[in-house]
């Protein structure tokens, strides 16, 4: 956003939210929300799932073929911002390749993603990659101070530091946590509790349940809880990472290599497959098996 402002001046801040619709070759209607100004358009094509290719193709062509009207004062190209490119399907990424080159004169793309590993090399070679590192804890604390000052709040630096530590370098999370603290108690006190989001607590409990008992009945209960997480739109890879972390801190060192490998294995399967729950459940079952075997061997060794 800052970059765009730099390019086009204040005009880009006149935003419109639009619902665009596209028709797939199979005549299915797609709706997608875009945020745009006269100069740019921002869209998250992965919102439409497997039909993202159509959106990418149509959108860029539409934008690129309309020349900038007011060329005297502005740059003579428009900007398309595509977010979450790493969730874009292969098909859609391929569709971007030549388009990017062809319409270079009238339309530039800014692609935003968490990691370039999932972006095909052909696209990476066409872009200038800008690695945006997460802010350091000091930076986060500083930003929290600034935010609070603007809100007319008084934030003890001790608390700011603790929030920053818990935020895992994620600024959005830090600000949300700060807001939650504000709701919890104001004026802030330096030693007040900084609570994790509910779902993390829930996940932690789930992990404890897995370690406590290994049985088909427990597996069923765990499955129910995992399902609940997924229906609350917690992405399955986040669930898997969280589970692994909790389980690792709860199990013996000898088991860790195997547990780590199986988490990576099932998460990979999860990405290739359709239903996340199967793979999460499979991981839990595998963990239970590993853990139980370990306990039984331990008991056997005792005698």
């Amino acid at each position: 956003m800052c970059v765009l402002r730099e390019l086009y001046g204040a005009g880009v801040e006149k935003l419109r939210i639009e619902h665009n619709s596209f028709t797939t070759p199979s005549n299915k209607k797609l709706e997608i929300v875009t945020i745009s100004s006269n100069y740019h358009i921002e869209v998250n094509p992965s919102d439409v799932g497997i039909h993202d290719r159509v959106v990418v193709q149509e959108m860029i062509k539409n934008v690129a073929q309309v020349n900038q009207l007011d060329t005297s004062s502005q740059k003579d190209f428009k900007v398309v911002v595509l977010t979450e490119v790493d969730r874009l399907s292969r098909d859609a990424q391929h569709a971007l390749r030549r388009t990017m080159e062809k319409y270079m004169a009238t339309c530039r793309l800014i692609l935003v993603c968490n990691s370039t590993s999932k972006v095909i090399p052909a696209i990476r070679s066409r872009c200038l990659g800008i690695r945006v590192a997460a802010p350091s804890q000091e930076e986060i604390a500083q930003i929290l101070h600034n935010v609070c000052k603007k809100e007319g709040l008084n934030l003890p630096s001790e608390l700011a530091k603790r929030i920053a530590e818990k935020s895992q370098g994620n600024l959005r999370r830090a600000i949300l946590m700060c807001e939650a603290c504000r709701v919890q108690q104001y004026p802030f006190s330096a030693d007040q509790q900084v609570s994790d989001p509910d779902w993390e607590l829930f996940l932690r409990e789930t992990a404890t349940m897995i370690v406590q008992e290994q049985s088909p009945r427990r597996l069923l209960e765990v499955r129910g809880r995992l399902y609940e997480l997924l229906t609350h739109c917690i992405p399955p890879d986040v669930v898997m990472r969280g589970l692994l972390q909790e389980l690792l801190s709860n199990c013996d060192g000898v088991l860790k290599p195997e547990v780590v490998q199986s988490a990576a294995h099932f998460e990979h399967r999860l990405q290739c497959g359709q239903k996340a729950i199967y793979h999460l459940e499979a991981f839990v079952a595998r963990f239970m098996a590993i853990y139980k075997r370990f306990l039984e061997e331990g008991i056997a060794d005792l005698f």
Binding site: C2, V3, R5, E6, L7, V56, Q57, I60, K61, T71, S72, S73, K75, D76, R90, D91, H94, A95, L96, R97, R98, T99, E101, K102, M104, A105, R108, S115, T116, S117, K118, A122, R124, S125, R126, C127, L128, G129, I130, R131, V132, A133, A134, N146, Q168, D237, M240, R241, L244, L248, K256, P257, V260, Q261, A263, A264, H265, H268, Q271, C272
Partner: protein, 366 residues
């Protein structure tokens, strides 16, 4: 943050870093004549004629013959990105038909166009139907056929490819096809066997450095020798990437400063050696807590797992204090991780799985 938003007149370092396009200052905008400045170098220095294409001697030799009048077979170009495939065929087509005829004689379809079976059947067919004469409007001779360029053909479905095969057969009299792809194995056999295949090699370092130096001279950019070397090393024979990096690096440093190695490292997202050392040290520690922290740090810093993987691979292969058997165990896991990453698996999990194998090998192997 607010100050950053308001300070729109000064072009500070960070802004330049984040958008090379943004670095032309407000003053330039008023000057309409500046617009050529906005052409990225990759386009500006795209080879205009077949002779300009560097390092791909076979293709150039064949195309040179065709330009002087011999018949054109169906072509299949394959090779890694940024090696001149698209440029070559476009340049060839342009010199065959000249500017005026180009539109009516050349059909370019790429992955951004709809290329289902129907399109192949209808569009290509109707394009190919009419016979072409062998003179240009200006009286010069030109070949009596049309060219269909199917760029990025590896993203076509095999059904569409099968349809294409039929069309290729039927229209041999009037039309030549040129397919371009990265992986020749994604093209069905009946098509590959109907084409003259040309592999585009990654550009050799000498060739690249020559062209890069040429660009530097044209654009009045100074670059230190070591930076040029790093640049070539990271771009791995991909000319487009090298030019891209060069342009952004030159924007990042001021008018009279030379481009240095550090700047190149910074924009290319290569992990610094210290970070790699840290990873390996942690793998020696036999502690999962530390491993977890390192992986999180890598992700926070924004380094891509694929990048980590390739750098780590170079390191491991050259390590002297472990046995070949250990190396092979680690490399096997690396292969698996690479596959999983391309399938879209989670970076954190894959990295920790890899590091855990390395840790096992270093601490408990042998």
């Amino acid at each position: 943050m607010e100050a950053f938003l308001k300070g729109s007149t000064a072009s500070s370092q960070t802004k330049k870093a984040s958008a090379p396009l943004a670095s032309t200052s407000k003053k330039d905008n008023k000057d309409v004549q500046q617009s050529p400045k906005h052409i990225p170098w990759v386009e500006k220095y795209r080879p205009r004629t077949v002779e300009d294409v560097a390092h791909q001697d076979e293709v150039v030799a064949v195309l040179r013959k065709i330009l002087t009048g011999s018949d054109l077979p169906n072509l299949l170009f394959y090779g890694p990105p940024g090696t001149g495939k698209t440029s070559t065929i476009l340049a060839a087509a342009r010199s065959l038909f000249g500017h005026d005829l180009y539109r009516s004689r050349v059909l370019e379809l790429n992955a951004s166009d709809e290329r289902g079976i129907n399109v192949i059947r209808e569009k290509v067919k109707s394009f190919a139907q009419f016979t072409a004469s062998n003179t240009r409007p200006d009286g010069k001779p030109c070949p009596p056929y049309k060219i269909v360029i199917l760029d990025e053909a590896d993203s076509m479905t095999s059904a569409a490819q099968a349809a294409l095969r039929r069309t290729m057969e039927k229209e041999t009299k009037t039309t030549r096809f040129c397919l371009i792809c990265n992986y020749v194995s994604r093209i069905i056999e009946p098509i590959t066997s109907r084409c003259a295949k040309f592999r585009f090699k990654p550009l050799a370092e000498t060739v690249m450095s020559e062209r890069l130096k040429h660009i530097c001279k044209e654009e009045k950019v100074q670059i230190v020798e070591s930076a040029l070397e790093t640049l070539m090393h990271v771009s791995d024979g991909d000319m487009r990437r090298a030019v891209m990096y060069l342009q952004s690096a030159s924007r990042l440093c001021g008018q009279d400063e030379p481009v240095t190695e550090n700047i190149i490292m910074d924009i290319t997202g290569v992990m610094p050696d210290e970070m790699l050392d840290l990873v390996l040290k942690t793998c020696h520690s036999d502690s999962y807590e530390k491993l977890d922290l390192v992986v999180k740090q890598i992700i926070r810093e924004g380094y891509a797992a694929s990048q980590v993987l390739s750098q780590l691979h170079d390191r491991v292969v050259n390590m002297e204090d472990i046995t070949d058997r250990q190396k092979s165990a680690i490399c096997e896991k690396m292969g698996e991780v690479d596959k999983c990453l391309t399938d879209g698996a989670d970076e954190y999990l894959q990295m920790i799985a890899l590091f855990s194998v390395i840790m096992q090998q270093l601490c408990h192997g042998e």
